[in-house]
């Protein structure tokens, strides 16, 4: 029977009256790279601390490979945590850092050293064991922290935004490396981040959290293409939100009446709207196309004026004004079919109904 590596069973965590995490139920599979994605303060770090054992859930259970972790301290749990600031021991050398977990388990010095060398090879820092941590670069420290955590052979590796201190370029590089290490060692990784790029590129599955609640769990593409809530739609990736009243639901199409007239989007059975409700229609910038004469009167066509044209090499990011208060963000691939500067042009834009999703009113992510 395939058992979940980590099982969060109705986990609720309160600090006094404040509910940091509310009724989380997730099973994380063995060997999975699982991310918790959410803005700062959404409770994801609190949840991670409950898994690593630094705090106990107020309600519910954390099980690791079927064993209830209640009352089991962080030093006994089969987890290892990589801290946001890495928390490497500055007074120890690199190899002593890596072998610390073995040292406290009473492993002899010779064996510790050998094991540390093996791990240094794994993280591509061979022969650097005698350096002080402060002599290393940011990326090297990152790898040492990973090696230190792997040295205790945890069943689950927990990572608390470990890349956030790095330079952008290096961060992207480390994503690939982390994923590679995870595949090599084959254990479960639970990764906490507020950076959707990190979550989308590395994870097998993602849980999007907001205000202590898990809004949606799924593969990256699912979350991006089929968001279940207004928050997820607005937090993960760029999105245009049009507000209106649901006038008709037929099959999997929803008609919405708003400031831009009637717009049609896809119905989401996981978070359904009802006729007469206020609702949001979300449309990705890349889902918009310029309307040409042939389909000028088709559904979901919006008259607009290009206000800004941000050119990013492979893309044009346009901001168009539609009427008084509405703006449309639109991304165009730079495939040579558009003039180099569109600013000021009057253009009608449109999108396929299947590319828009209608969701009940809820809090939007603020940038």
């Amino acid at each position: 029977m395939s058992q979940a590596a980590v099982e969060l069973d109705s986990v609720t965590i309160k600090f006094g009256d404040f509910v940091a995490v509310r009724d989380v139920n997730i099973d994380i599979g063995d060997g999975e790279f699982f991310s918790f994605l959410g803005p700062s303060g959404c409770g994801k770090t609190t949840l991670l601390r409950a898994v690593s054992g630094f705090l106990e859930p107020t309600d519910g259970h954390v099980r690791i490979h079927g064993n209830d972790m209640a009352g089991i301290g962080p030093n006994v749990r089969p987890t290892a945590l990589i801290f946001q600031n890495l928390a490497l021991f500055p007074l120890m050398t690199v190899w002593e850092n890596i072998a610390f977990g073995l040292e406290v388990r009473g492993v002899g010095k010779r064996e510790r050293r050998d094991r540390a060398e093996e791990l240094l090879d794994l993280i591509a820092l061979p022969g650097q064991g005698d350096k002080m941590v402060s002599e290393l670069s940011g990326g090297q420290r990152q790898r040492v922290a990973i090696a230190r955590a792997l040295a205790v052979e945890p069943k689950v590796l927990l990572l608390d935004e470990p890349l956030s201190a790095l330079d952008l370029k290096l961060r992207q590089h480390m994503r690939t490396e982390l994923r590679a290490i995870q595949q090599r060692v084959g254990i479960t990784f639970i990764y906490i981040t507020h950076d959707q790029g990190e979550a989308l590129t590395m994870s097998d599955r993602i849980a999007v959290m907001s205000a202590g609640v898990v809004e949606q769990v799924g593969k990256g593409a699912d979350i991006y293409d089929r968001p279940d809530s207004a928050f997820v739609a607005s937090f993960v990736g760029e999105n245009n939100a049009f507000r209106g009243r649901v006038t008709q639901i037929s099959g999997d199409e929803v008609k919405l009446e708003g400031r831009q007239g009637q717009l049609v989007g896809r119905f989401n059975p996981d978070n359904p709207v009802r006729e007469g409700d206020e609702a949001y229609l979300f449309v990705r910038p890349e889902s918009f196309k310029f309307a040409d004469a042939a389909n000028a009167d088709a559904v979901n066509t919006i008259k607009a004026t290009v206000r800004e044209d941000e050119f990013e090499g492979s893309f044009h990011h346009l901001i168009l004004a539609a009427g008084e208060d509405d703006y449309v963000r639109m991304s165009l691939t730079n495939d040579g079919s558009h003039s180099s500067n569109l600013k000021g042009a009057e253009q009608s834009v449109r999108f396929e109904p299947a590319r828009g999703v209608v969701l009940p009113i809820g809090p939007l992510a603020t940038e």
């Binding site: 290892a80 600031n85 928390a87 955590a149």
Partner: protein, 452 residues
């Protein structure tokens, strides 16, 4: 522009004055240790001598006090450092209100006058002894060195606590959590992560505790009872007649202090330099890493190659040899200084300027004769003038010729008016012109010229 210049000049002048105030007394006191004059003074300068140094060793009380001070210092370190550490650790774990309450309570011994601490300590332990049924002299709790260690530790623990609080503020709690997460038990995390981090603070706290204990007087003067420490011996020496051997002791302490400060500064600079080098290496590593990432050279052998390159790019190690030399030189100098002091203390055969002293003695005798002659003439003249008047008034002459008056101590000065049988020399009212004669005529005055 001009006023700015003036301002700078004034500030400079003030700083010179201020440090003159700080060091002047110590310098002058140190100089007097080398003057053969029996009273510690700079002028008139008699002869250069080292005779006061071995004399310290002869003083039984001083040696005994010194030994006690060492024992007490060690005891205070053993008590105040762990207590201060515990206090600091507790403060980091309390809520805001409890913390401020405990902080006030624990810091209060610094503000309570030392005499009050001393008194409360002896009263408490005497009472404790009575309560367990061993009153008075047999009470093993009512013991000078024991109570001094406790009494001093009461406030010295607050000092050490402040040292630890300052250090703990820079401790990242994630370090301890990381240790726990890697499987360490709580005592292991404490011993392997927190204690090494606190090690420098433990060192400074121990030094601070020892120094504070070594020089404490106000509390000790009560708690030490019949025993003595270096400071209490010094205090009674200074109060009841001063002589240059105290200056000699001061020279020793001042030079040890200077040596310690010097070594400390050299070590600190070396440490700083090392830190800078490490930082430079980290920056070099950082640069390389960025280059690699930019070239898209990730993968297996990328970082490995970078390691070689980083090593090649390390700041040249040339600076290291020089630092080591300077650092060794400093230690050698310090050792020489300490050896010199030790030699001064341990050999009896020091330069005592016997010839020079004899010369001075002769000079003084001659001058004395001269003055005696003058005085005689003066007296004769006065006696002639005062014929017809009644017996000479008391006052000046009396005190001048009183042989006992030079031994008098300044402390009793206030009694001088009421107690004419012991006129103190410090008595400013006793005629000033008498002063010269007074000291000249007294046979003992070559030994101790100054009463106050």
């Amino acid at each position: 522009m001009k006023s700015h210049h003036m301002m700078k000049l004034m500030i400079g002048f003030y700083i010179v004055l201020f440090f003159g105030y700080l060091f002047g007394p110590l310098i002058i006191m140190s100089i007097t240790a080398f003057n053969s004059s029996d009273f510690p003074r700079v002028s008139p300068w008699d002869c250069f001598t080292l005779e006061w140094f071995p004399e310290l060793r002869q003083d039984r009380f001083l040696v005994e006090g010194f030994q006690n001070s060492l024992v007490i210092g060690a005891g205070v370190i053993a008590l105040a450092v762990p207590i201060g550490l515990a206090g600091a650790l507790l403060l980091t774990q309390l809520g805001r209100r409890a913390r401020s309450g405990f902080y006030t309570l624990m810091i209060s011994p610094i503000l309570v006058p030392g005499v009050v601490l001393g008194i409360s300590t002896i009263i408490f332990w005497r009472r404790m002894g009575e309560m367990i049924g061993v009153p008075g002299e047999d009470n093993f709790l009512y013991e000078g060195i024991f109570m001094t260690i406790l009494g001093q530790s009461t406030f010295i623990s607050a000092f050490t606590m402040l040292v630890f609080v300052a250090r703990l503020q820079r401790f990242d709690p994630a370090q301890e959590e990381a240790a726990l997460d890697l499987g360490a038990t709580k005592p292991q995390a404490f011993r392997k992560v927190l204690l090494p981090f606190l090690k420098p603070a433990i060192g400074s706290a121990a030094v601070l505790a020892f120094l504070a204990s070594f020089e404490n007087y106000n509390t000790t003067v009560f708690t030490i009872l019949q025993d003595k420490t270096l400071t209490t011996v010094l205090a009674s020496k200074v109060r009841y007649g001063i002589d240059p051997s105290i200056s000699a002791l001061a020279v020793l302490i001042v030079s040890l202090t200077l040596v310690a400060a010097f070594v400390y500064e050299v070590l600190r600079r070396r440490e700083q330099k090392e830190a800078r080098e490490i930082e430079a290496r980290a920056r070099a590593a950082e640069r390389l890493e960025m280059q690699e990432v930019a070239q898209g050279e990730g993968g297996e052998d990328g970082p490995a190659r970078s390691a070689a390159e980083i090593r090649a790019e390390l700041p040249a190690a040339s600076g290291k040899g020089f630092t080591l030399q300077a650092h060794h030189l400093a230690i050698v100098l310090a050792l020489i200084a300490v050896a010199g002091i030790a030699k001064l203390m341990l050999t009896d055969d020091v330069y005592a300027a016997t010839a020079c002293k004899e010369e001075i003695r002769q000079e003084k005798l001659e001058r004395q004769q001269e003055l005696l002659e003058k005085q005689r003439q003066l007296m004769q003249e006065r006696q002639q003038q005062e014929q017809g008047e009644k017996a000479p008034r008391s006052g000046d002459y009396q005190s001048i010729f009183d042989p006992g008056n030079l031994q008098g101590d300044g402390e009793e000065g206030s009694d001088a008016e009421q107690a004419p049988e012991a006129p103190a020399t410090s008595d400013g009212q006793s005629s000033n012109d008498g002063k010269d004669y007074q000291s000249i005529f007294d046979p003992g005055n070559l030994q101790s010229e100054e009463g106050n």
